[in-house]
């Protein structure tokens, strides 16, 4: 399962706050895809995964060209 999180137009830390709030709503093993236009999200999503012991799956691209940062819930 994958939850899409639309954070287009939001500036950091807002996308990371949205990610943290969304985490408990998905099951362990499921993914969250954060669509973010703020360039800081590229670094900050990965740093969040490291600090919160979650898995950073990788970067994809949405149909409109916005980067998608994909995270898997580990705990």
């Amino acid at each position: 399962m994958r939850l899409d999180l639309d954070c287009r137009g939001l500036r950091c830390p807002a996308p990371i706050i949205a990610l943290a709030k969304a985490l408990p709503t998905v099951d362990v093993g499921d993914e969250i895809a954060v669509a973010a236009t703020d360039v800081a999200a590229r670094v900050d999503v990965q740093a969040w995964c490291r600090m919160r012991d979650q898995e950073y799956v990788g970067e994809e691209m949405a149909e409109d060209g916005t980067p998608l940062y994909v995270v898997r819930r580990l705990l």
């Binding site: 500036r11 950091c12 830390p13 990371i16 706050i17 943290a20 709030k21 703020d38 360039v39 800081a40 670094v43 900050d44 990965q46 740093a47 969040w48 600090m51 919160r52």
Partner: protein
Amino acid sequence: MRLPSDPHAGYLDAASSEPLHPAAREALLAALDRGWADPRRLHTEARNARLILDNAREATAAALGVRRDEVTFTSSGTDAVHRGVLGLLGGRRRGSTLLHSAVEHSSVLHAAAWAGTMLDTTARVLPVDREGRLSPATVRESLAALDGTAMLAVQSANHEVGTVQPLAEIAARAAERGTPLFVDACASMGRLPLPGGWSVASGSAHKWGGPAGVGVLLVRKGSAWRNPYPVDDRSDERGSGFENVPATLAAAAALQAVVAEREAVNARQHALIARIRDVVATIPDVEVVGPAETRLPHLVTFSCLYVDGEALVTRLAEKGYGVASGSACTASTLTPSHVLEAMGVLTHGNVRLSLPRTATSAEVDAFLALLPDVVRDLRAEVGL
């Protein structure tokens, strides 16, 4: 709140600008009355100015352990960096590639970009590790992979996270390939001994307690450096414009004093920063960035998850503390710090704290006592 008796209490942003050292103030006031004339002329007033300028150059050279004729005073640290980088590129004997670390000061990056347009050179960025350190092995591999590198630019220490670069080994790798090395020493000059192995180096007086508007350009005797700008008919052909003679003497006096005091000051500051690192690391979801030991003595950077950097800096200012931030929202460009990005560490909720010479243990304790609540309150405001 700040007491009138202690105007700098709570100021924890020495890496942006160190308050004027008392030795600088004294020298500046004395030189203002005697050093205003044109040092190139031959009358009494001019000779006084020339004497002060020569003394400033001599004292700066002695404090840094370089030759007197290797010292040029510039109008700022940025000006010294630009002259240094562009002058080495202008004097290059081969190659068109400028190699630099990913965590150089923006003045190096801007000089590299300018050279790309004006001198047809290409910049190649060398990655750093999670602590902001450039590995000598990376330098060796990059130099070997490129046929004729024009120059290498590596800072002595990082201005945002404090990482001291392994410059002895990096300089050795550059020397093996005959590649000229530019060392931006603005963040460490005076505080730490100047590393060796450079062809050109730079410093900035207001970062060691001298006045603003004085930079130091060091050009090693015999290195292939060529003035990249229109020349001027001053006493020093590497600079341009009428010298701010009193300010150079003040800068030199502060540098001498800082070098003389650094053993004691560095030990005290290193211990205070170690305490800050320990306490900050106990705040939930806060990451202390940069190395614990191989660092500038007076500086620490940390990032707080879910916290807006601008809000954090503003809240701390309201409580009487002046700190800097590398977060995007605090930058005029609205892009996060390229240093934090290159290290792969959290860029939001970032605070850089750097102790001035006069910072006390009591000040640090008071800051540490309120920081956890400030972070908690800001998180509560966004529902976390």
